[in-house]
């Protein structure tokens, strides 16, 4: 057991660090108000890509470097330490790209992957629909093949993060309603600027508008943009979701604000409280801090296992579940410490960071698998508990929606 970098890891860390130092000003700062538009964020990602810091674990043919998950973890640590904002094309890198790598044709890989890593193209993931979120396989968006082999897609997606700026998306559709609902699905790459695609931003409870509803009205997609076989979309989607596991709360990455910024905030403010309130605040903070450490070191264990060649299993969902919980606890105690400002959406000095953090976190308990769905997964796949009985077994999709 050891936490030191191996010589290779240390060399990589210093490469990453010197790149970040050299370009510190251009890379921007994640603290402060978020005013960057997506164009700024694209330029930042391209700079990082050209510096070799995006997509290291991807195969060389896919625009990556065939590197290790540990190298990626080191990049994440260094960018986070330096306060560099997150990558804009996170969904492309975490979910869409891996799906194209596993199921795309050579032509698709050539066309899309490198541009995705450089954020020349932004990507989104078009899975959820008004009537299917947790129960993804209940989706209704239809794709019908025409005589010339191309497909026509009609239906509605929702909660699509980044759809308003995205160039491409992966869209899961129903191509056969007369088989069991998991069986009749097919995945495609769709250009978001195609005729018949309409994107309407949705405002979140936090006030921002990062997700959207997306309407497909007879959108034509050539058969060459299919990912995987016809009817095999569920298996293709599982690749996406598996990659998602590591992106969200895997490897001990922090969700929400960083623990060090919370610690500095608490250290600065706690003296304003009466001594009995201070004791209570320390209990809250101490508990959240212990949880944060537990999640971080469990992430290190997973990372070590992956470095030895293990595949990220459903255990990784524990990090998202616990990380979301502790992020909410930390946001809550941070806001409490604002005193009279705590009940307003902005502080007297005009800053909104802690209030915004508090308002953004409920979404984390829903996005990427709700808390309840993750608990089902952990209970059934890790603890081996029996599944719940379900009412949609042994019937076709069509029968299931009657």
């Amino acid at each position: 057991m050891d936490f030191e970098d191996t010589p290779d890891e240390a060399a990589w860390r210093s490469t990453v660090r010197s790149f970040v130092e050299e370009h510190r000003a251009e890379l921007g700062d994640r603290r402060g108000r978020r005013t960057d538009g997506d164009d700024v964020a694209r330029v930042r990602q391209a700079l990082l890509y050209d510096g070799g810091l995006v997509g290291v674990t991807w195969p060389v043919e896919a625009g990556g470097q065939g590197g290790t998950p540990m190298q990626q973890a080191i990049i994440d640590q260094e960018l986070s330490r330096a306060g560099v904002p997150g990558l804009i094309n996170l969904i492309g890198i975490g979910m869409c790209g891996p799906t194209v790598i596993h199921h795309g044709s050579d032509a698709q890989k050539d066309r899309y992957l490198k541009r995705l890593l450089r954020a020349d193209d932004l990507w989104c993931q078009l899975f959820s629909e008004p009537a299917s979120g947790s129960d993804l396989a209940a989706l209704r968006t239809r794709a019908v093949q025409t005589e010339d082999g191309s497909w026509r897609i009609s239906g509605q997606k929702v909660w699509t993060t980044l759809a308003h700026v995205a160039d491409f998306g992966i869209v899961l559709t129903r191509t056969d309603p007369d088989v069991a609902k998991h069986r009749g699905l097919t995945m495609f790459v769709v250009p978001m600027k195609a005729e018949g695609v309409t994107v309407r931003p949705l405002r979140q409870m936090s006030g921002g508008a990062d997700f959207n509803e997306v309407f497909f009205d007879d959108v034509v997609v050539p058969d060459s943009e299919r990912l995987g076989d016809v009817g095999d979309g569920w298996r293709v989607a599982l690749t996406t979701l598996m990659s998602e596991r590591l992106t969200l709360g895997g490897g001990g990455t922090e969700i929400g604000m960083s623990i060090s910024s919370v610690a500095q905030h608490v250290a600065r403010r706690i003296g304003d409280l009466s001594s009995d309130r201070q004791a209570l605040a320390r209990q809250d903070f101490g508990r959240a801090y212990v949880d944060t450490l537990g999640i971080r070191y469990t992430g290190y264990r997973q990372l070590s296992a992956i470095s030895r060649g293990a595949f990220p299993g459903p255990e990784a969902s524990a990090g998202k579940l616990a990380g979301t919980r502790v992020a909410r606890d930390l946001a809550d105690l941070s806001v409490r410490l604002l005193g009279d400002d705590a009940a307003y959406a902005e502080s007297a000095d005009g800053s909104t960071g802690w209030q915004d953090a508090q308002a953004g976190l409920p979404g984390m308990a829903i996005a990427g698998g709700t808390n309840e769905v993750l608990r089902n997964v952990l209970g059934e796949r890790v603890l081996g508990l029996p599944p719940e009985p379900r009412a949609d077994k042994g019937i076709t999709f069509k029968e299931s929606i009657r």
């Binding site: 250290a267 801090y289 070590s304």
Partner: protein, 352 residues
């Protein structure tokens, strides 16, 4: 970075598990509780079996009759002890090994079992006092070894051998010993957390097994989410506790600067986690879980007592907060950094 046990540690855990499963069990914990005088009941494996096995004194140097191993070695063994509610605790051996460093005669006596030490803190009950024949304690800044008057009371968990000890007399083992004392206390907290990790893991296993078997309304109760999700919450806590225990044990061996935080974190986490595991174990069993006959309360007793040992959970969380805040204040730049931006949807989010 490689944060995992190595093959030798896995083998050690498995050998210790074999020994401990043969030498102690919840049935023994129950027997102690049912004894005529539970406060003075013998615990299993008991001191001599533990010392003979060599596991208890893993951290004593080899030339003095110990195992010459690391605290991480002892922690993986202690986890196995926790699974079977073994007594006495490995905590006393670990603390004594640190306190007596440099005192060859006393360490040798510890390793061969001719002396039975317990460590007496300024406040709080003394762990395994009833099976001890001498006590280590701090008088001023002197570390002292001597006798004491032991007062017992009806125990909540007789496997812990708790008593109030009024120390007196004794010989000074070392002067200026406060740093060593604090270090030993932290090492003790790590071992206590390792035992609690084993106890909590075993409690979860028993609960999960029952949830797969027991039927209600025509289904296994583990298929109901209220049951399933409470078991998952315990699982998540246990895995995080395991990480903290390993980290803290590693820190004691390799990175003493990290030990104060790691030991306090492990102590806080084990209190919270073991309590959740034990209460869930009872709840999942329904009525049978509330009976004297069922083992569930033996795990629960451990949880309810251990949280008060070597400082309680409230003190541990307070210490974590003070350490983290002191570090933050020291590293904080003069200007007030603005608060972080909200997690943007892409920054975390994402589909399904």
């Amino acid at each position: 970075m490689n944060f995992d046990l190595d093959d030798e540690q896995r083998d050690l855990a498995s050998a210790a598990g074999d020994f401990l499963r043969g030498a102690a069990s919840p049935a023994d914990a129950r027997a102690a509780l049912d004894a005529d005088d539970p406060a003075n009941a013998e615990t299993r494996p008991g001191r001599s079996a533990l010392v003979d096995s060599g596991f208890a004194t893993i951290t004593v140097p080899e030339d003095l009759g110990g195992g010459g191993g690391s605290l991480l070695d002892l922690a993986v063994v202690a986890e196995q002890a926790g699974r079977v509610l073994a007594g006495p605790s490995f905590v006393g051996y670990a603390r004594a090994a640190v306190l007596l460093a440099g005192d060859g005669d006393r360490l040798r006596a510890l390793a061969e079992g001719s002396a039975a030490y317990a460590v007496v803190d300024d406040d709080g009950p003394t762990l395994d006092a009833i099976s001890a024949d001498r006590f280590l304690f701090l008088r001023g800044d002197d570390l002292v070894c001597g006798g004491g008057a032991v007062t017992t009371r009806a125990p909540m968990d007789p496997t812990r051998g708790l008593a109030q000890v009024a120390v007196d007399g004794g010989d000074v083992v070392a002067g200026d010993a406060r740093l060593r004392w604090d270090h030993a206390l932290r090492v003790g907290r790590v071992v206590l957390a390792a035992e609690g990790l084993g106890t909590a893991s075993r409690a979860l296993e028993i609960a999960v097994d029952y949830a797969k078997e027991r039927q209600a309304f025509g289904r296994a109760i583990g298929s109901y989410q209220a049951v399933k999700h409470s078991l998952v919450d315990v699982y998540v806590q246990i895995e995080n506790l395991r990480s903290l225990v390993w980290w803290a044990a590693w820190a004691a061996d390799q990175a003493p600067d990290e030990l104060p935080m790691a030991a306090a974190a492990a102590k806080g986490a084990v209190s919270t986690t073991l309590e959740a595991a034990a209460e869930t174990l009872i709840q999942v069993h329904g009525g049978i879980g509330f009976t004297w006959e069922h083992d569930a309360h033996l795990f629960w007793r451990r949880a309810k007592v251990d949280r008060f040992l070597l400082g309680d959970d409230v003190a541990a969380y307070d210490e974590v907060a003070r350490l983290a805040l002191a570090a933050a204040a020291a590293s904080s730049d003069a200007s007030e950094p603005s608060a972080p931006s909200a997690p943007s949807a892409p920054a975390g989010a994402v589909a399904r």
